[in-house]
Symmetry: C2
Subunit: 557 residues, 2 copies
């Protein structure tokens, strides 16, 4: 064992949260001894960029650990440029909180070492969940978490060893990898998800259906409601066994989520939450006032549901790290509650969400209202305009905004970010209607989709212009298709018994509609249908709904 050294600040984990905390503390405390300890060999790499390295969009893996001005972020860089000592390949095995010591072991030599600390920062990250008994070999059966995972997969792709891949888990990482394998390398991908839809923690089912249809159109096989049971390797072939069927693939990737690395914290008696994450207060202090924690290993509080959750995002880890660094240097910075904004690009489709989904909003006890809308992301006459589709979740009683989900080839993420800013202020529908968007035809329609969504929601609540979810069955409802003849021709509805009355003729022809039957009004985007429904209400029709988001959000088949 090496001699015990006294260090002012020890940081465990040299990724976003840990290094940001250390660098910030260095600036505030120029004289402090600061040591960062990491068990891996690569430090400070952009894990979120790994799918783009696997896909080939990024040629060299070093791009993921290079500063914008071209320096590799390695141990030397942090020593010279940042004034930080980083020890790699070293595992912290135990923390003695009374003595304020950490006990380490070299991953290479097994040599033990011990350091004393004044303040300790845990930034131990998260690890991929691997179902019990799966023979992960990091080649044919692998997780996707470390840079080594990415390098190994890329090598296999380059040498043609992967023609068919099974991805277990249709979350953010699973979907990103489906594109990575398929787009450039042409590998056949089976995306296997236990839940009834992909991206189950991001999108409600009817929204996910559209993304699934798009991925299928890009030749990704999608298997939902397909719980994974086992994996067997035989020679070069891997068999993924599921409740539905078996998949023979060259490579199986396990992407069913991550769990916080909180064993070290638990081992020294720090309070761990129900989520498995380390519990911290808003200054990022654990149950021990001398120990901070940040990043994927902690749990955070959801602003809207009030629940503790794991939200392993690099963006949060960076912010939390900076807060710890400031507070180590005598600051009083706080990390608030989160709303959970996420985004993912799949081929040419942008998918993003923030706040609560419909289901989670109900669980949290809100009086949940939902509306849907299809829009162009720019002025509809602008040449590059693209359709985008949203679902707005709100509280019907108070009008409080609860969540927004969107997908489409156009600018979805901007709207999610703006909405997130409103969620942070506990905004209501009226705040959304009061928003000012920097408007010019290349950026937005004169009336922004978010504004229109708020109007649709208000109309649903105040005037009972009620949408039906895009994936609903119409049952016995008479369908009124309000589209023009050329629209009907290019995208006919599969249903039978449709009454076709173009929107611009409804004021003349409404008497053709049966008054005693339940109705559903349908158009391309939902606008004409809602407006027609309002007109029909004036004329005494009552049992009516319209198709939210229009035919353009209706799942095929």
């Amino acid at each position: 064992m090496t001699e015990d050294q006294t260090i002012s600040i020890i940081v465990v984990g040299a990724s976003a949260a840990g290094l940001r905390a250390a660098a910030r503390a260095r600036r505030r405390l120029p004289e402090a001894k600061i040591l960062v300890i990491d068990r891996g060999s690569f430090i400070s790499y952009a894990g979120c960029g790994m799918p783009y390295f696997v896909s080939g969009d990024i040629q060299s893996v070093d791009k993921l650990r290079t500063t914008p001005y071209g320096l590799i972020r390695d141990v030397d860089f942090f020593r010279e440029a940042k004034g930080l000592e980083v020890v790699t390949g070293t595992k912290v095995e135990r923390i003695d909180r009374d003595a304020r010591k950490v006990y380490c072991k070299s991953m290479r030599t097994g040599e033990a070492s011990v350091y004393s600390y004044d303040k300790l920062v845990l930034a131990t990250g998260a690890s991929p969940i691997v179902p019990r008994g799966i023979p992960v070999d990091n080649k044919r059966i692998t997780t996707f978490r470390s840079l080594e995972d990415a390098i190994s997969l890329r090598k296999s792709l380059e040498t043609g060893k992967i023609e068919k891949v099974g991805i277990i888990g249709g979350g953010l990482i699973g979907c990103e990898l489906a594109e990575a394998f398929s787009a450039l390398w042409g590998a056949k991908v089976a995306l296997i998800e236990a839940a009834p839809n992909i991206l189950p923690s991001v999108l409600d089912p009817e929204m996910a259906l559209a993304v699934e249809a798009y991925l299928k159109s890009e030749n990704v096989e999608i298997h939902t409601s397909c719980p994974f049971e086992d994996i067997a390797r035989s020679g070069e072939t891997v068999t993924i066994k599921t409740a539905q069927t078996d998949f023979e693939v060259d490579c199986a990737i396990i992407a069913v989520g991550v769990r916080p690395n909180s064993e070290l914290a638990a081992g020294c008696g720090l309070v761990i939450g129900k989520t498995g994450g380390i519990v911290v207060d808003d200054k990022m202090v654990t149950s021990d006032p001398n120990i901070f924690a940040a990043g994927d290993c902690v749990e955070v509080r959801h602003l809207i549901s009030g629940k503790s959750i794991n939200l392993p995002l690099g963006s949060l880890a960076n912010r939390q790290g900076r807060i710890i660094g400031s507070n180590l240097g005598g600051g009083n910075e706080r990390f608030g509650s989160v709303v959970g904004s996420v985004a993912v690009k799949l081929f040419d489709m942008n998918v993003a969400a923030t706040g609560l989904m419909e289901t989670s909003a109900r669980d949290a006890g809100f009086n949940v209202g939902c509306v849907w809308g299809t829009f162009t992301d720019r002025a509809d006459y602008y040449p590059e305009a693209q359709n985008i589709h949203f679902k707005l979740v709100f509280d019907k009683q108070s009008g409080r905004l609860l969540g927004l989900q969107g997908y489409g080839k156009g600018e979805v993420v901007k709207r999610i970010d703006v909405f997130s800013a409103l969620l942070k202020n506990e905004g209501k529908l009226e705040d959304l209607m009061d928003m000012e968007f920097a408007y010019a035809p290349p950026y937005a329609p004169a009336v922004d989709p978010l504004y229109v969504l708020a109007c649709i929601a208000r109309d649903a609540v105040l005037e009972e212009i009620q949408p039906l979810a895009p994936d609903s069955r119409y049952d016995e409802r008479v369908i009124i298709d309000l589209r023009r003849p050329d629209e009907l021709k290019s995208a006919p509805l599969p249903e039978k018994d449709i009454l076709k009355i173009p929107f611009e003729e409804i004021r003349r022809k409404w008497e053709e509609i049966p008054k005693d039957k339940p109705l559903i009004c349908i158009c391309a985007k939902g606008v004409r249908a809602a407006e027609s429904m309002r007109f029909l209400k004036e004329k005494g029709f009552s049992n009516m709904v319209y198709l939210g988001g229009g035919c353009l959000m209706k799942p095929a088949g």
Copy 2:
């Protein structure tokens, strides 16, 4: 004179505000008689899209007045689809508020007509300002406001009659037109602006300089500080006389701004503000409780400065129109104060701003702080990442956010919109640091530019890490260039006597820096310079600044 007819609601002006008000009122009051009167022949066209018709990006002018589902928005459309009567080619000449009558005249026949109203809505728009005595002929000397203007210009371009054009006014419209004439048609464009910089109501001078440099690189001639004096036409040649020089062109476009069409309102004694706009309360009611007004003809209140301003934007007109429609139908909707978000796309550059500029913030009495920053809009390793440049204006005392300006080829507008949402809530630097962005490498860096800007501002105030504006002179300051040798080679500084110490060597070589002289630290984006300055402060250096936004925001020359 036709017989006096009693109409429940009369709307003067059939553009965004007026038609939106009428359509909304129709929905709320199905039985009401509603009449919309417009002096023009085209109604409900997207004026903001006209530059894209002139440029040729949009082939047919009808695209600007077509619904997304392909119907022309003409008088028939509004009658049939919206249940609204619209009378075109009819000028409202006088309002008798006591009798509640409007007196009209046909623009074509001169025939007079009169209508009585219960409620009146003025949506009379704005007109281009034309300096006194200018012989506007709508062909060689023209404004750019009506669809007729756009059609005439496009025709001249198509028939090759315009090879050189002078645009008087470097505001949003002037800049958009510079691109329209230049990009597709190859016309030589001289953009003539009286102020010291283009976009004077959008960007502070040092920000505008960069946009000017970019426009010049796209072969647009820029003449700033160049007050226009007169225009003379001789045969097919137009001479624009300015304080600097004369411009011989084939066509002169006057784009020096618009003024509210408030004569009709003034004529009947309604209160008009100092800006020339009609004064309305937050329900969009004028000083006569039976008369509403909306759109470019009214003045609005700036949320931050508290001042009344004209803000002729289609996005606001639409919102105001809807509010009037609701309130006509018994609603109680309100239009709040504005923050003034604007955006413009110039070739491949995105320019946008919201809130107050530095100058207007000082005028409003704030203790103004400014910081600058250059960022990639996405993860720096993501292949399509582009640089974006921002200036943040804030109050040093309270930390209140006051304004944001940005330009660059990357995603600028998203950040402006998010910032606008925070401005609406009177947000502070700490709110910006608490924002959650939907993060994935194709959309943003893990740490968003807005977050970093807030950090830079906090560091400037709390730790005196003070930036110098990008266009500042360094006077006697010793320049410390912290870039790497390959960066220096590709973009050397023009100044002499530069001390070159790469950032990663500053901790070793700082003793080479003279301690008794004022310093300026410079790097590519400002980050390394600020960090080095902090380090040098620890070492006892005091008279120091760094170049805000780095070399990438520094104007050439």
